[in-house]
Amino acid sequence: MKLWATGFGVAIVTLLAVTVKAQQPEGVPANPAKNAYFGELHLHTAYSLDSYIFGNPNSPDAAYKFAQGEPVTLYGGETKQLRHPLDFVAITDHAEFLGELALCTNPGSAVYNGPACKGIRAFDMMQFGKIAASVTAKKRRDDICGADGKACIDAIKDTWTKVQANAARYYKPGTFTTLIGYEYSANIPGTVIGTSGKDNPRANVPGMLHRNVIFRTDHVPDTVFSAYEGSGEALMKWLEEKCTGACRALTIPHNSNYSWGRFFWEGKNSDGSPWTRDILDRRARIEPLVEIFQIKGSSECMAGIGLTDEECGFENSVPPCPPGETDQCGGENSFVRDAIVRGLAVDEKLGVNPFKYGFVGATDNHDGTPGATEENDFKGHLGQQDNTPEKRLGVKPGVAVDDGHGESGAAYMRFSTGGLTGVWAEKNTREAIWDALSRRETYGTSGTRIRVRFFGSFDYPADLHKNADLVKTAYARGVPMGGDLKGKGKAPRFVVWATRDPDSAPLQKIQIVKGWVENGKNMAKIYDVACSDGISADPKTGACADNGASVDIATCQVAPGKGAPELSATWTDPAFDPKMRAVYYVRVLEDPVCRWSTYDAHRLHVDPPKAVPATIKERAWTSPIWYTPS
C-alpha cells in the first residue's frame, strides 16, 4: 500500500500494510539506580517540507533504522552510519507543512498538478519561501489549501496517523524507544532581513520561536497544533485542553539563540503582550526542558552578552548584538543561563518560575540522521544545501548554494554537528524516558556521550564521591539533577561525577556554574570542582590551570597522556548564602579534538577556516539543581 505518494528521490512510502500496535513495556527490568540512555528529541525527515525540498531522501523509516545503527544514503549518494546506535529518538517533523506536503505529493489531490505543488516537487526554493512566509503571516496558502485552509488541515490527520504508526513500528521496549512528537515552528513577524555576507555575518532568517512537542505514550491528540493556529502560549493551552487523561505532553523550546530576544522575555509573551498568571503557570507545568545545544550552535550563553565566562564563546553561530539591536544576532533574553537566573527573581516576585529549565541536546538535522554528531564524519545536515565539504566551507563559492543565510560557506562553517540528550531512567521505555524528561533528570551534550551524575543534599558525607555506594546514598539522601533543595539554613553538598566517551577525548574538568540574583542583578560564577592531571583549583579564583592537552591540527591526533577517564568530587559552595535563591548546574569539558570544519579542510587539502576555531572542547551540561530558602 502506497500511503504517501513519492517525490523523486524521496520514497515516502510506508511499507507496512497495516497499522502496527506498539509493543508493550511490561516485563522490561528496571534499574532503581538508573541507567544513562543517549538519544535525541529533534530530528527532521522528508516529512518536513524543508527537508523534502533540500532533496533529503530519508523518511522516518530510514531515520529509525539509522538511529539503531543501520546505514542510510544521504542526498548525493554518500552513506552515513552511526558509530553506535542511539537508545531513544523522537522524530519531530514540522507541523506547519504536513498537510501541504501531503497534498502536493499525493497524485490524487486536487492541487497536485498546480504550479505550487509542481514547484515543490521540482525542489523550487521559491515555493518553499512562499510557504515559510505564509507561516509567519499565519495564513495558509490558498493555492494549495483552499481559501479556508481546510484541505491542508484535513490532510494533516492522515500524515499524523502515519507518524504514530511509524513510531509504533520501531519501538522496542528495553532496547530502543521511539517517542511520538513534532515540531511547532513559529517565526517572529517583521524581522528585518538584511543582506548578510562576509562583512555582515548576521543570520539572515526570521527570529525563531520553535518548540518540540513530545508525547509520553501513543495516547496523543488526533491532530497537531501548528504555528498557523496560534502562538507558543496558545500551543500550550491547546495541549492542556486536547491532551488529557492518558495523554501527557511536554514542550521543549530550541534555538533561543535565534529567538532575537523573545524566548526569555521578562514580563512579555512571545507576541509582546504582557504575561498573565495562567500563561506563566501553564509554562511552568508543561515546559520542563530547554534545548541547550544543536546544529545551530550553543544556547547556553554567549561571550559578551549577559552572564558569561570564557567557555561562552563555544559554538556561537550568530554574532553578538550591537547595543540596542535585537535582530539576527545574539542578545539579551536569548540565552539559557540568563533565563534560569532570571527565573529565580521571577519566582521570588510572582511565586512561579516560567524558566525552570532542565537541559537537553539535539541535532535538528534535516537529513533524517538522528545522533549524527561525530566531528570526524560530519556529512552536513541540510540535504543538497551542505552535502559536500566544498559547500560547507564555501571553498568554491560558485558551487555553494545560498540558503538565505548569506554567503553560504560563512554560514555553514559556523554550524555545529549537533548534540545529544542523556537521560537517567530506570529502563528504556517510553514511560520511563518521558518521566525522566518530565522531572529534568537529563543533560545535554555537544554530541559526545559523556556520562554525568549530579546530586545535591543537606545530608551527604564530605567524601561521598569515593563511596562505593555513591549512587544509592545520593538518591536516598538527596536529589538528582533537575531537583529542588529547600533551605534548612546550612549549605548543601553537591556530588558530581563524570566518565568519558571512549570514542571522544578524555575529560579535562568538571565545573559547577552557580547563578543567583543580587540587588536585582543577574550573577554567575564558575567553579572548577574536579580537574584532571593532578591539578587543583586555585582557591581564590576557583579555576584550574590548563592541563596542557593538545591536538595536532595537521593530523587531528590528540597528544596522549592528558585528561582523565573519569572525574568526581563532593563540593560545597564556599559563598553559600542560606537566604539567597540559587541555581547550580554542571558543565563537563573534554580535552580538545579537531572540529568538523578542520576535518573537512583536510579532505579538501586546504587550511582550516579562520572564521571558526580549529578545535572544539566537547562538553555536557546537566540540568540544574535549584536552592530555595524555606
Binding site: 546506535p85 543538497q384 582523565a564
Partner: protein, 276 residues
C-alpha cells in the same frame, strides 16, 4: 565482472552517453527534429495561460495587457538560454543539474505499483535465507571491580593486582571504587561493550574464560578486575518476533529488484564503447 560494471557506472563518459541519450530523447519529444525548428519558439494558448497564472500567483493580480509583451519576452529569454545551454551540453556538465536529472529518472524507475505483498511462507523463506542478518549478537554477563585512575593515580593497576590476589586467597570481593556503569545488570554484546568501555576492552572480555576473577583489564575508563559469569550464544528469533523488520527488508529487496529491472531495460538500449 561486478567490479568492472561498478567502474563503468562511475565512468563520466558513460554518464555522458546515458544523459546525452536522455537529453536527445527529451528534445525529440519536446521539439521538432530539425535545426530550424529548434530555433522556433512557439507560444501557444496554454503557455500564455501559464505565464498569466505565474504572474498572478506572484503578484496577487492578473497582468495588465501592457505587461504582456515584457512577460512574453522574459519567457522567451528563459527558453532561449535553456535551449542554448542544453545544446552546449551544460546540463551534462553541471553536477547539480545532472544529479537532479538522475534523481528524476531514479524516481521514474521506482514504479512500485506492481509489487506484491509477501505471504507468510515467503517471509519465512526470506528469514531462513538471511538468517545471519537477524541473529542476536553473542552476549556476556559479567561482574567487574573498578580501580579509578583519577582517585588512585598510578596506583590503580597495582591496587587491582593486590585486590585480585586477596580475592583469590580470601574468596571475598575487594572494595573497588564507585563505577558509573556498575548498576547496569544487562547482558552485553561486543558492540555494547565497545560503546561504553572501548573496543579493546570488549575484545579482551569476550576472550576470557568464564567463572573466575581475572585481570587487571584496562578500558578507556580505567582498570578492572572482571569475572565473566555466562556466555549467551547468538540466536535466531522466531519470525513472529521480528515480522515487521523481515517484511520491510523483503519489500525493500523487491523495490530494488523492480528498480534494477527497469534500469536494465533502459540499459539494454545502449551500446557503450570505452576507449582502450
Amino acid at each position: 565482472m561486478r567490479v568492472w560494471a561498478g567502474r563503468l557506472l562511475r565512468e563520466p563518459l558513460v554518464h555522458f552517453l546515458v544523459l546525452g541519450g536522455l537529453i536527445f530523447a527529451a528534445n525529440a519529444i519536446r521539439h521538432p527534429a530539425t535545426i530550424e525548428d529548434a530555433h522556433r519558439i512557439a507560444i501557444g494558448k496554454a503557455d500564455m495561460a501559464r505565464i498569466r497564472a505565474l504572474y498572478t500567483q506572484q503578484w496577487g493580480a492578473p497582468p495588465a495587457d501592457a505587461d504582456l509583451p515584457n512577460l512574453v519576452e522574459n519567457y522567451v529569454r528563459a527558453e532561449v538560454l535553456a535551449r542554448e545551454g542544453t545544446f552546449l551540453g551544460l546540463a551534462a556538465d553541471d553536477p547539480v543539474v545532472r544529479n537532479r536529472l538522475i534523481q528524476k529518472m531514479e524516481f521514474l524507475l521506482q514504479d512500485t505499483s506492481g509489487i506484491a505483498q509477501p505471504t507468510d511462507a515467503e517471509l519465512a523463506a526470506y528469514l531462513a535465507a538471511h538468517a545471519a542478518d537477524y541473529r542476536t549478537p553473542e552476549r556476556i554477563v559479567f561482574r567487574q571491580i573498578y580501580f579509578s585512575p583519577s582517585l588512585r593515580g598510578d596506583q590503580a593497576d597495582g591496587d587491582a593486582r593486590a585486590g585480585l590476589a586477596s580475592l583469590v586467597k580470601a574468596g571475598s570481593d575487594p572494595m573497588g571504587d564507585p563505577f558509573m556503569l556498575a548498576a547496569d545488570p544487562e547482558p552485553k554484546s561486543r558492540v555494547d561493550l565497545a560503546k561504553d568501555f572501548g573496543a579493546d576492552f570488549a575484545a579482551a572480555l569476550f576472550a576470557l574464560p568464564p567463572g573466575r576473577w581475572q585481570g587487571p583489564v584496562h578500558s578507556a575508563l580505567g582498570v578492572h578486575l572482571v569475572r565473566v559469569e555466562q556466555h549467551l550464544p547468538s540466536s535466531l528469533p522466531p519470525l513472529v518476533d521480528i515480522r515487521a523488520r523481515v517484511h520491510d527488508d523483503l519489500m525493500a529487496e523487491r523495490f530494488q529488484a523492480a528498480s534494477d529491472a527497469a534500469y536494465a531495460r533502459l540499459r539494454s538500449r545502449y551500446t557503450v564503447v570505452v576507449a582502450p
